[in-house]
């Protein structure tokens, strides 16, 4: 990984997303609705404003979103 890329990633982690975003609790509360909207092709970001920004800024919530999305998209259920 280049120093340039490291610097960009570090800046992104330090400065976080721009604009309003949900907190972790609200993210968890809305995650199922957001993912179901994604699965059926609805505008999930319009349905749950601030979710995308939070997922960009919170690695833990981003991982959990990815996991739920993966299961919803044809997982082992």
């Amino acid at each position: 990984m280049s120093a340039r890329r490291d610097t960009g990633a570090l800046l992104a982690a330090l400065l976080g997303p721009d604009g309003p975003e949900l907190g972790c609790e609200d993210c968890f509360d809305e995650l199922d609705r957001y993912v179901d909207a994604e699965v059926v092709g609805c505008d999930a970001d319009a349905l749950v404003p601030g979710m995308r920004a939070h997922l960009a800024g919170c690695p833990a919530c981003r991982e959990e979103h990815a996991s739920l999305r993966a299961l919803s998209g044809g997982g082992p259920w």
Binding site: S2, A3, R4, D6, T7, G8, L10, L11, A12, A13, L14, L15, G16, P17, D18, E21, G23, C24, E25, F28, L31, D32, R33, V35, D36, A37, V39, V40, G41, C42, L47, G57, C58, P59, A60, E63, E64, S67, L68, A70, L71, S72, G73, G74, G75, P76, W77
Partner: protein, 227 residues
């Protein structure tokens, strides 16, 4: 992904609920009804839900397992079972919170995934000390002028470093450096600090806002903002 291609996804129902509207689909209504039923029917529904939760937790453990080579197979199996147990308890406690604007299986699955993810992050950091805040801070300060970094990013990082030093409270600085520089998982930091993930994220969010404001004060624009 279209529904017609994936009738067996998070739930077994092929017809999605009205997303965003509090009108649960038939399968979701049936889940809630059965879980609230007294006696054998309720117990059977809980057992069925536990099976679903365990599958979700095992899937999460399997996905993350390769990144956790120090955890043995039996430990991973234990994490999955504990996650399913704890998720079931959370779901039963919060059943009244289910609004019906997503499939019940999606709603319940997120509890299992959260429990599994948190347990794995904590196990990965078990026995590890958190990095001293000063080390992470020094890393940012050093990187600002590091050879190889392009001038613009280097200038920005140097200004961010100054804002971390001058514009943040000690608490904001420690939380920001732990989460954003040292890569401490937020659940782990919450556990060590005796606080919640939400409280830490609020601190992180406030710190980031101050850093962005600090860049403006210093005549710079953060990425994603007009310069």
């Amino acid at each position: 992904m279209r529904w017609s291609e994936t009738p067996e996804v998070v739930g077994s129902g092929a017809v999605p609920p009205q997303v965003g509207a509090a009108t649960p689909d038939r399968e979701s209504r049936e889940w809630v009804r059965a879980l609230r039923a007294p006696g054998a029917e309720g117990r059977a529904a809980m057992a069925r839900l536990h099976e679903h939760l365990l599958r979700a937790a095992r899937s999460e453990v399997a996905r993350r397992g390769p990144g956790l080579p120090h955890l043995r197979g039996d430990e991973l199996a234990e994490v999955a079972m504990e996650a399913a147990d704890d998720a079931l308890m959370s779901i039963l406690r919060r059943l009244d919170d289910y609004r019906g604007d997503s499939r019940f299986t999606t709603w319940s699955c997120k509890f299992a995934l959260l429990e599994a993810a948190v347990k794995l992050r904590r196990r990965a950091w078990r026995g590890r000390e958190l990095p001293p805040p000063a080390e992470g801070w020094a890393h940012v300060a050093a990187r600002g002028g590091a050879p190889g970094a392009d001038d613009e990013a280097g200038e920005l990082l140097a200004a961010v470093g100054a804002a971390i030093r001058d514009d943040l409270t000690a608490h904001q600085r420690e939380v920001l450096v732990a989460l954003a520089v040292d890569g401490v998982p937020i659940d782990v930091l919450a556990e060590r600090r005796g606080t919640t993930r939400d409280a830490l994220y609020t601190t992180l969010h406030d710190a980031r806002r101050r850093l962005r404001a600090g860049l403006v004060t210093r005549g710079l624009a953060a990425p994603g903002e007009p310069s």
